[in-house]
Amino acid sequence: MLWSDIEKLNTLFEPWREFDRLRRELSRISNGGRVDFPAVNVWTSPDNAVLTTEIPGVELKALNISVTGNVLTLRGLRGGEQLQPDEVYHRKERWQGDFAKTIELPFTVESDKVQARYAKGVLYVSLPRAEAEKPRKIEVMT
């Protein structure tokens, strides 16, 4: 048996993970492979969501995060290098300019408890689910 077969077998045991991966791939393809800057990843649990995004070179003061209901908006500016008249670009691949991106979350967020951290060009935003929206157990009175 080849190693690749064993790997296939492993994915059989975890069909949902494979399904999830396919679904993510498909949603990416349906966007034409194009993603607005900055690219984001969203992790969710029943009570929390964590958004991560790579925005290397963005200064903290040029970054604005706001949350309304279940929508998070990231705004910012990634400036470029100021060139002198005798300086030239040989390559220019890095994205630059103003950006604004809105991300819809699966639940309403407790906006007072949102926490954000920026390190090494990666932004982490922790978004707790609103208390009012959490499923509540209802006591049945006799």
Partner: protein, 135 residues
């Protein structure tokens, strides 16, 4: 494939034929700007997740290689529901055309951007060769 890069989507680095990577994970090509200034060549490379300790720059002959290791912090007990980018290491090499003063190369990392300043070697001064007549 490299020319087909789509904005905002990271390009995966291809392992070179000579050497294989020791870490079994994806490596991406960092997006770069290369600027030629009067006395220096400046390279800016987007390497989010990398700091000054995890970046490596080597210059061998005229091949400049940059690499960076990323130890991603993944949220525990969460499921990835939206994925627009992948997380992995970075590697990319360039062949330099100008003579570089290798002792004065400077590298710094700020907010996940590597900045390399490669000073040009003072241009070989034109020498006049004296021709003497044989007595």
């Amino acid at each position: 494939m490299q020319d087909m890069a789509v904005e905002g989507v990271k390009r995966e680095a291809q392992a070179s034929e000579k050497a294989e990577r020791t870490r079994q994970r994806k490596a991406y090509l960092p997006d770069v700007d290369i600027i030629e200034k009067k006395d220096d060549i400046v390279i800016l490379a987007d390497m989010p997740g990398v700091d000054e300790k995890s970046v490596n720059v080597t210059l061998e002959k005229n091949v400049l290689s940059i690499s960076g290791k990323v130890d991603a912090e993944l949220p525990k007990e969460h499921k990835l529901t939206v994925q627009e980018y992948g997380v992995g290491d970075y590697e990319r090499s360039f062949t330099l055309s100008s003579e570089i003063d290798r002792d004065r190369i400077r590298a710094s990392v700020k907010n996940g951007v590597l900045r390399l300043v490669l000073p040009k070697a003072s241009a070989a001064k034109p020498r006049t060769i004296e021709v003497r007549t044989e007595a």
